[in-house]
Amino acid sequence: MSATKAARVGEDVWKTRIDKVNAELVTLTYGSIVAQLCRDFEGDYLEVNKQLEKMGYNIGLRLIEDFLAKTNMGKCANFRETAETIAKVGFKVFLNITPTVTNWTTDNKQFSLIFEENPLADFVELPDDGRAQNELWYSNMLCGVLRGALEMVQMQVDAHFVGDILRGNEVTEMRVTLVRIIDDELPPGED
């Protein structure tokens, strides 16, 4: 499926089949989750990253079913197509943003998503304690969502942020790497 077709599908599904909620409600809810985690782990931001990723992972495991049901998409032929679908259909449908897919490696197994806008991070300032700027990946839940969702469609990926405007980087960038294609499980032997 070409990028333009993906964009059209995303737009179409977003317009016709999605229940919308107020964007600020999402922003504030997400913000309070992160803030609470920071309090719970007493400023251990590496642990906060890990927890956010785990929450996202559990969301992704279920979200993929909703995604498939709403978009009626079939299997992607290759990882490039998967990337376009994630950016132009997935993010469009659930967050109404379309990150840019770029920086492919030559083996077509790694790409970057550049987020020009990120509704999770609106109105956000990282804690000014000298560490959050270097340790906390504020939107890390998104990495987990991708990992969980792709795992359910037989792709084991590694996703992590490499830049965040909140930290003062140029762009918010997520790096996604295809680790392996998960084989179909075989039924247990009859003996």
Partner: protein, 205 residues
């Protein structure tokens, strides 16, 4: 037009949901060996948990007149579907999948999602293709009432969390509404003449 039973298998090849409507009579498993149902039965006859097997000779298990347990049925259905699907993929590429097959006495409809959930419906042979119906069950019932149910686990070992009330009720009414329409269909045409309303019923059989 009869619906016999419905199965869901998860990506771990486990049957997570079974529903049977019409108890299949013996004619569903004809004693002739022509039906494809017979051969898997024979293959697994040694480990089925049949209660009546001691009465029967082992040469021709379908001749025993007893019925396999629901679990054994599900295993056999999965075996057929799994092998057929893999065969189809080998023959015509990984994107292809079979839609249904029929024997002399039943028809099996199949739908698989990208997440490897397999939906199977057994009906009588006259049924039209029901892939759309299975897709509807997935979209409107499974995703809505099972996947989105926060109390239901993500994986469903032993069918845990699938047979929730809303899902079962939805499925039941959905399947009941699949039954053929009454033979007479009424098309209503309303004519408005001189501010009075006349109704003309055209009956289409």
């Amino acid at each position: 037009m009869t619906i016999y039973s419905f199965y869901i298998f998860d990506r771990h090849c486990e049957c997570i949901y079974v529903k049977q409507w019409h108890q299949r009579d013996r004619s569903f498993r004809p004693t002739s060996s022509a039906s494809t149902v017979d051969s898997p039965v024979t293959l697994s006859s040694d480990q089925r948990s049949s209660t009546s097997s001691k009465l029967q000779n082992d040469v021709h298990p379908t001749g025993r007149g007893g019925r396999l347990s629901v679990q054994d049925d599900a295993k056999l259905v999965f075996g057929v579907v799994f092998s057929l699907r893999n065969m189809v993929r080998k023959l015509s590429g990984p994107d292809d999948s079979f839609i249904s097959y029929r024997t002399g006495s039943y028809k099996l409809h199949y739908y698989e999602t990208a997440t490897n959930l397999k939906f199977v419906l057994l009906t009588d042979v006259k049924m039209n293709n029901l892939k759309v119906v299975l897709h509807q069950i997935y979209v409107n019932l499974y995703v809505e009432f099972v996947t989105k149910n926060p109390l239901s686990p993500i994986e469903h070992p032993g069918g845990e969390g699938v047979a929730v009330e809303l899902f079962e009720m939805g499925l039941d009414s959905f399947i009941v509404n699949l039954r053929p329409h009454p033979p007479l269909r009424r098309i209503q045409t309303n004519l408005v003449l001189n501010r009075e309303q006349y109704r003309i019923d055209i009956k289409v059989s």
